[in-house]
C-alpha cells in the first residue's frame, strides 16, 4: 500500500500540482504527521498501520487547516481514509478549507480496522490503494441502548466522572475549529477546576458534535481516562440523521439543507 501512495505523491509533487503532501512519516522510531515537499524524503512515508491497522492515525485535516491558512494560495495533497474524506467534505461545506487547495490521496482501511471502528464507510470515494472493506453498524450504540434508561444514565455519569479535563477530545478533533470554544467560556463552567461539570461538560461537547462528527474515533483514542466518547457521538450522528436526514460527510460537499451549521467564515 505504501508504495502506491509514494508513487502517487511523487507524481503529484513532480508535476507541481501540489506544493507539499501532508501524510505520515516514520522518523526517530516514531510515526507522526509530516509535510513532504521535495520527494527525497518519501522513503519514510507510512500510512499509519504500524503494529496493527490504524494504530498511528492522526487528525491530518486539522494540520491541513493550519497549512492552507498559512499559505492561502497553495495547493496541498493529504492522506485520507474514509473518515478523513468525510471530514474534508464537511470542512469544505463549512468554509474551513477551500476545496481547490486540496488534493486528497485516498486509502481504504483494512477489514480489521473497519470492524474495530464500526465504520459505515471504511474507504474514501476515490482511492489510490487498498480494497474497500465491508461496512459495519454501530454495535456499541445498540449495546448501550439495550440498557434501561436509568442504568444508561448511571453508566454515562460514571464514565464522565473519570474525566481529567485535559481537553484532548476537543484538541485532537479534526472537526473542532471554532476560534472560541464553549468549553472555555467562563459562563459555562469553572474552567480551571476539576472535576469537569458532570454531565454538562461532555454532553455540551456531544451536542456541538451534531452535524460535525465524521466518526474518526480519534477522541476515543486520545482519552487518558478511556471514556467511550465515540459511542456517544455515533448516537448523536444517528439522531442527526433521523431528524435532519443527513450524516456529515456522506453526501455532497455542499452544506446539507436544514443543517446550516457554519463556523467562522474563512479569513483569507
Amino acid at each position: 500500500m505504501d508504495d502506491k501512495i509514494k508513487m502517487k505523491v511523487q507524481e503529484l509533487l513532480q508535476s507541481g500540482k501540489i506544493k507539499g503532501f501532508l501524510g505520515l512519516r516514520e522518523r526517530h522510531g516514531q510515526v507522526g504527521p509530516y509535510l513532504f515537499t521535495d520527494g527525497d524524503d518519501l522513503e519514510g512515508l507510512v500510512v499509519g498501520d504500524r503494529f496493527k491497522p490504524g494504530d498511528s492515525r492522526y487528525p491530518l485535516n486539522k494540520q491541513l487547516m493550519k497549512i492552507t491558512r498559512g499559505d492561502p494560495s497553495g495547493c496541498y495533497g493529504v492522506l485520507v481514509r474514509g473518515c478523513d474524506e468525510r471530514g474534508l467534505k464537511t470542512l469544505f461545506g463549512s468554509g474551513q478549507i477551500k476545496s481547490e487547495q486540496v488534493v486528497p490521496v485516498g486509502i481504504a482501511c483494512p477489514q480489521d480496522l473497519a470492524d474495530a471502528c464500526e465504520c459505515l464507510k471504511p474507504y474514501p470515494d476515490e482511492r489510490v490503494a487498498g480494497e474497500a472493506a465491508e461496512p459495519r453498524s454501530f454495535a456499541t450504540v445498540a449495546k448501550v441502548e439495550a440498557m434501561e434508561l436509568d442504568e444508561r444514565f448511571r453508566l454515562w455519569l460514571a464514565e464522565f466522572s473519570k474525566c481529567i479535563k485535559c481537553y484532548g477530545c476537543r484538541n485532537i478533533c479534526p472537526m473542532c475549529y471554532c476560534s472560541e470554544c464553549t468549553l472555555e467560556n467562563k459562563d459555562f463552567g469553572d474552567i480551571g477546576s476539576l472535576p469537569a461539570e458532570n454531565p454538562v461538560f461532555h454532553l455540551t461537547r456531544a451536542i456541538h458534535m451534531a452535524g460535525r462528527c465524521i466518526d474518526c474515533g480519534l477522541c476515543n483514542e486520545v482519552c487518558p481516562a478511556d471514556i467511550p466518547l465515540r459511542t456517544l457521538y455515533k448516537k448523536i450522528a444517528d439522531i442527526v440523521e433521523e431528524e435532519f436526514h443527513c450524516r456529515p460527510g456522506y453526501g455532497s460537499p455542499e452544506t446539507p439543507p436544514g443543517l446550516n451549521i457554519r463556523g467562522e467564515e474563512l479569513k483569507h
Binding site: 507522526g32 492522526y58 494540520q63 497549512i67 498559512g70
Partner: protein
C-alpha cells in the same frame, strides 16, 4: 510557508510523554501527542497539550532579575551569581546548612538535577532537596 513537525519530549513533568511540536515559519503553533510513543500512547494531560505556549510566552524569564529597592531589576549573570553565592554563604554561616533548601525541576535535564543535589549536599551540606512536582 514552511511547516514542520518536531518530535520531542514534554518538559512539564518526569513522565516523559512524547509529542510533536508544530512549527510554522519558525513559530510554534501547536502540540500533537505521539501515537506510537510507549509512554503516553497518543495521550496527553492538559499541561502537555499546551506545552507549545510557554516557549514563546512574553511572560517567560529571559535574563536574571535582582530585587533592588523592592523592584525586580535586570542584571548580568555575574552580578546575579555573585549576589546569590554571597547571600547563601551568609545564611549558611549565620543559621547553618539546613536553613537552606533547594528546589529542583522536572523541566530540566537529569544532569542538571544531579548538579543541583550535588551542590546542595556537597557544597552547602544539606539534604533539603525537593522538586517542582510536589509544589
Amino acid at each position: 510557508m514552511e511547516y514542520r513537525t518536531v518530535l520531542t519530549t514534554c518538559t512539564y513533568c518526569g513522565c516523559g510523554c512524547g509529542l510533536y511540536l508544530e512549527v510554522m515559519d519558525g513559530r510554534l503553533v501547536g502540540t500533537i501527542p505521539c501515537k506510537t510513543n510507549p509512554v503516553n500512547e497518543g495521550k496527553l494531560c492538559v499541561k502537555g497539550w499546551n506545552v507549545h505556549e510557554f516557549v514563546q510566552s512574553p511572560k517567560r524569564l529571559t535574563r536574571p532579575l535582582l530585587r533592588k529597592n523592592r523592584e525586580l531589576t535586570p542584571v548580568s549573570w555575574d552580578e546575579a551569581l555573585d549576589f546569590t553565592a554571597a547571600r547563601l554563604r551568609e545564611i549558611k554561616e549565620a543559621h547553618g546548612s539546613d536553613s537552606i533548601a533547594f528546589l529542583a525541576s522536572a523541566k530540566v535535564t537529569n544532569e542538571e538535577n544531579y548538579l543541583i543535589q550535588k551542590f546542595a549536599r556537597a557544597a552547602v551540606g544539606t539534604n533539603n532537596v525537593d522538586h517542582c512536582a510536589r509544589l
